[in-house]
Amino acid sequence: MSESSERGAHDEVAGATIPAVTRDDASEAFFDAAARGRLSLRCCLRCQTILTPSARSCTACHGDALGECLVGGGATLISWVVVYDPPTPVLADCVPYVVGIVEVEGGPWMVARIVPADATLYVGADLEVRFMDSGSKEPGEAVPVFVVTSTTGTRELVHGEPDSFVGGYSRQPRRLDAGSPELNVGGDGL
């Protein structure tokens, strides 16, 4: 639950401002977990593929029976942009910001803020999740942001065939295995 007593229990993320986000029915489990500092994804109960938090069916087997899945906080950077002018007034207090696509444990991609905004980035950089309060005047839910944990590493450019895309930079796709991440097939949010 996201009680006010729990607010502030998660990380302080310096320099990042995120406008207030509120929950709806579909995002309840995600924001409950976020308030506890955990990343809650979906998992296909048939083929165990780990899916994005907003998934409604499995991208691998098309099954529609999904459970909740708590994963660790490690992630890999897939792409990012730097935004200097607010694209919409609600982001006026956030610029400049970096937003990226990150690949979290188990393989799903999420769109998330990358902090700090002046970090040196490259595709394949190692990231780790942090949770921060969204909103300032009107408080919102705790939301995930990602910080860069590897400050070294090389990126290799590859001229290959379109079908052989993955690779070219150091990246290990993470698969579901015993112990990590935690599966919560009951979907009751702990």
Binding site: L91, W109, S134, V145, L157
Partner: protein, 387 residues
């Protein structure tokens, strides 16, 4: 094999045109396209309607035009791929005998007086709720940012540079100089491109298309009827579509490979051509990057080599592969898939005036929608295809 041809092209006023709804603009474009074809509303028995951002044109357009006996009538939406999809649907209706004269129209009027173009997209976001709200709060609010994410992937993977994207913008501005309908005709240098402000780094302002109010319509009929048309017909040799929806999962090639692979293969196979036969390209250019990745996916160069392929002026006036010869959506006007399609018709008919290419024999036209997800391809020619 299709035996259909485009026989009419009509445009409303384009640009910062106010005081008319998209429906009103669509009606203007259809009347102009029919007049161009030497036909009247009485000759028309099919209508396909495509809306844009403002979403205020629909099948209701038929009653606005006073049409009460149509064989084919539908609203079509595959985003930026819609124009090519409409032409395919019209060709299929004509080849099957379902209809004989089909008008296809796109209309949009998202611009408002005294408001910036950018405000047409996502300016009114207020409530940030659920997962969609989380994405907006994180900072991904509009197509600029999604396309920038795609371009960055390509840059990191293949070493593509902002200057190479800039070469596309410069080439197209060069073509726009010869197009009286183009919005931006002042010559552009690579330095201008590099100096233009960041919209979403790595995309500069001059990597992004315009926003335009207006409507464009084309009229499609059988190749046989087209022989009797008032103006030179433009024959449909091939069409294709493919929808490569964004997979948000490990190993996804989103941003690097698009539906142009499948759509291009279909259309070129149907037309019996390969990329080396193409004499002029009209490629959907909501962003410079879209042109680059589409050229790769069609097979004009290998995957990853689009940057060097476009960097040497190949696409510019005088280059080996004329591309977006009216300035495209970057410098000409933003009528979604009708921008490349209209310019294809103009070139195939040799109506290009100052910007006319010498050999518009095989024209390749692309449509791209969503975030590099929906794709359509057309192969057009001034010549009737010999089987």
């Amino acid at each position: 094999m299709t035996e259909s041809a485009i026989v009419g092209l009509g445009m409303s006023e384009l640009g910062r045109v106010y005081g008319k709804s998209a429906t009103g603009l669509a009606a203007d474009a259809i009347r102009a396209a029919l007049a161009d074809a030497g036909l009247t509303l009485d000759d028309m028995d099919g209508l396909l309607v495509s809306h844009g951002l403002a979403n205020d044109v629909s099948v209701h357009l038929a009653s606005v035009l006073g049409l009460h006996d149509l064989a084919v009538l539908a609203q079509v939406n595959a985003y930026g791929a819609t124009a090519g999809v409409m032409i395919a649907m019209a060709a299929q209706a004509i080849d099957s005998g379902a209809a004989s004269v089909v008008a296809c129209v796109f209309a949009d009027a998202p611009l408002r007086p005294r408001t910036r173009s950018g405000a047409a997209y996502g300016g009114g976001i207020r409530q940030l709720r659920g997962f969609a709200g989380l994405q907006t709060a994180a900072g991904v609010t509009n197509p600029n940012i999604w396309y920038a994410l795609a371009a960055r992937r390509h840059m990191q993977r293949y070493g593509t540079t902002s200057e190479q994207l800039g070469a596309i913008a410069v080439a197209q501005r060069g073509w726009a100089a010869g197009n009286p309908l183009a919005t931006m005709r002042t010559p552009l240098t690579l330095a201008d491109h590099q100096r233009s402000r960041w919209i979403a780094e790595p995309l500069h302002l001059l990597d992004c298309c315009l926003v335009t109010n207006g409507a464009i319509a084309v009229v499609v009929t059988s190749a046989q009827s087209a022989a009797l048309a008032r103006r030179p017909p433009v024959h449909v040799w091939g069409y294709g579509q493919a929808h490569a929806l964004r997979q948000m999962h490990a190993d996804s090639s989103w941003g690097l490979v698009t539906g142009a692979v499948g759509a291009g293969r279909q259309a070129m196979s149907m037309a019996g051509i390969s990329p080396s036969d193409v004499t002029v390209c009209q490629l959907y250019d909501c962003y410079t990057y879209t042109v680059l990745v589409t050229l790769e996916d069609y097979g004009f160069c290998a995957k990853g080599e689009g940057g060097s392929f476009v960097a040497d002026g190949r696409l510019a006036p005088g280059g080996a592969l004329p591309c977006n010869t009216g300035g495209g959506q970057l410098s000409g006007y933003y009528m979604w898939g009708m921008t490349p399609l209209a310019e294809a018709v103009i070139q195939a008919r040799r109506d290009g005036g100052q910007r006319q290419v010498p050999n518009p024999e095989i024209v390749l036209v692309s449509g791209n929608g969503g975030i590099l997800e929906h794709h359509s391809t057309l192969v057009l020619s001034p010549h009737r295809r010999t089987a």
